[in-house]
Amino acid sequence: MKKTLKKWLEKTIEGILFLSSTITTLTVILIVVFLFKEGKSLFQSTPIEEGFVLAVNKANAAGNLSANQIKNIFDQNIINWKELGGNDEPIFLFRMDDLSNYYTDEELGENFEFVPQRTNEFIDKTPGIIAFFPSKNIDSNFSGKILPIEKTTLKQFLSEKEWFPTAQPVAQLGVLSLILGTLWVSFGAILIALPLGLATAIYMAEIATKRVRNILKPLIELLAGIPSVVYGFFGLIVIVPQIQSLFGLPVGETALAGSIILGIMALPTIVTISEDALRTTPNAMKEASLALGANKWQTIHRVVIPYAGSGITAAAILGIGRAIGETMAVLMVTGNAAIIPHTFLEPVRTIPATIAAELGEAPQGGMHFKALFALGCILFIMTIVVNLTVEFISSRRKNKISH
């Protein structure tokens, strides 16, 4: 009786454990599938605002326009059709809401029933026009030419440089500057955090007395517990003005500020993991080195660090992983201008900051919304590459130890 009960209990616990692992796996798969499904749908949509069309006069000779050309037209950087291979005719911009400037309410009809007809009329009599209006206002005998807008392609998405997801009439979805910004800030963070973290880890593992270590270690781990908003605030108030006056810059919100903050945030990861790696060096090896007449520094330099090499690399890469995905602190200190960075003293915009700042107002299911999910996919791929690298390096370490 007692035995069967015990068996039954065991089975139940087994079942619960199995269920939890299944749920965890399913959740991960679900999130990834959802992310990529939403992200992929971007490439099935055109960058023009949903339900709207762009049309020109029937006599217009200009060919297909790219998203960038359309933006430049509506920003009035291109003001004549001949710049686009058309006739020598100044470009006349027309938006739906402008219609009331040219027609009275009576002419538009009490229930706006004449709007399609008037729109058509206006496009027909204005040779240089480019009109942006809802597709349901296309008149049944529309005489203008509707511009075909191509779907967003993956290549465009990754290589275009301008990020104006809310630009009207056609959004500019180029994420190159965002990807480079993310990598740039993370790279800077690791440049700062790795030497500092490694030095701390060596000190704690090899030099510090037990008492110092017992104080130092929890203190460093406490760094991981500070909310990232607090880091961001600290960065904006303290680090940004310091950088500005130190380098004599016009603006202190730079990639460097982001890198410093992220470097501090990555420190606990790097210190803890590389210290653990350093401490796995067998005492026999260290003692052998000392017995051969090497001093303490030589032993650390030639024996301990090489032995822990792959552990230190893993620490660095995990630190990068932490930096790549960090949102809030970066959002507050890097200035968020979507430009391709050339030095550390320029503002940058990172992918997580973009998603956090824009998702709230992007209309659900719209093109902007999908573009942000596609950005999420890119971020996911970046972090998975980082994780796989860690996996690869630590498996190499295991091999090395077993040989």
Binding site: L236, Q244, N336, A338, P347, A357, E361
Partner: protein
Amino acid sequence: MNFKYKAILSIATLFAMAFTQPGVTLKIKGSDTVLPLSQKEAESFMKKNPTSKITVIGGGSGVGIAAFLDGTTDIAMSSRKMKMSEKMKLQDAGKAFKEVTIAYDALSVIVNPNNKVSQLTREQLEGIFTGKITNWKEVGGNDEKIVAYSRESSSGTYEFFKEHVLSNKNYGTSILMMPATGAIVQSVSQTKGAIGYIGFAYMEKTVKALKVSYDKGKTYVEPTVANSKNKSYPIVRPLYYYYLIKDAAKVKPFLDYVLSGEGQKVVSDVGYINLN
């Protein structure tokens, strides 16, 4: 025993509130700019009329008007006029609506207090924020790089500034995007060549507000509440409530309160410009 008694009493009170005195139950949704104002108005209205229940939800002007179209909100609050496309959608659904201006909001253009420039024309502002003017000496200042701060594209203020000051052109790529108005004030106060825009309610002594000209430099107007009221200051927008005419009776008590002297006092307390 005591607890039970209290519980019964409070449930009874709830029932009494729900059934004996049906107060106003309203849902207000929309612009995040109008949100703090509507919340304060709703709070003080409910204090006076304890039986009424007003729920205020943000999300942006577009979201509010979309909810209005679906019929999931009684009042849509908006920091911009309803667009023609939205009007036509309402028209299609056979819904007649009314627009009420409840307050005004004005933006000031701010620079660092050490900047010797104290006035700019709209065209100059357009040049600065579209990235065509990059040095203060081009607009009469020192030889110093211009650092322009804007709100994020999700903000209604971003759109308002784009429409009214940049004449619908896109911001330049080098413009710095800040997540909050407070961050703009902080950055402008500590950056020598900075320029930014903020709502009147956020004005602080650590930054300097510019005079603005909308007539190509003939007259420059100081951003003050008085100038906004007499319409001489140009960067002002009305804040609207939209409601359906068939809901007029339901909405009236609250609307009347907002437009009353007391309600308009709340407007200036929150930092907006009242109607009178």
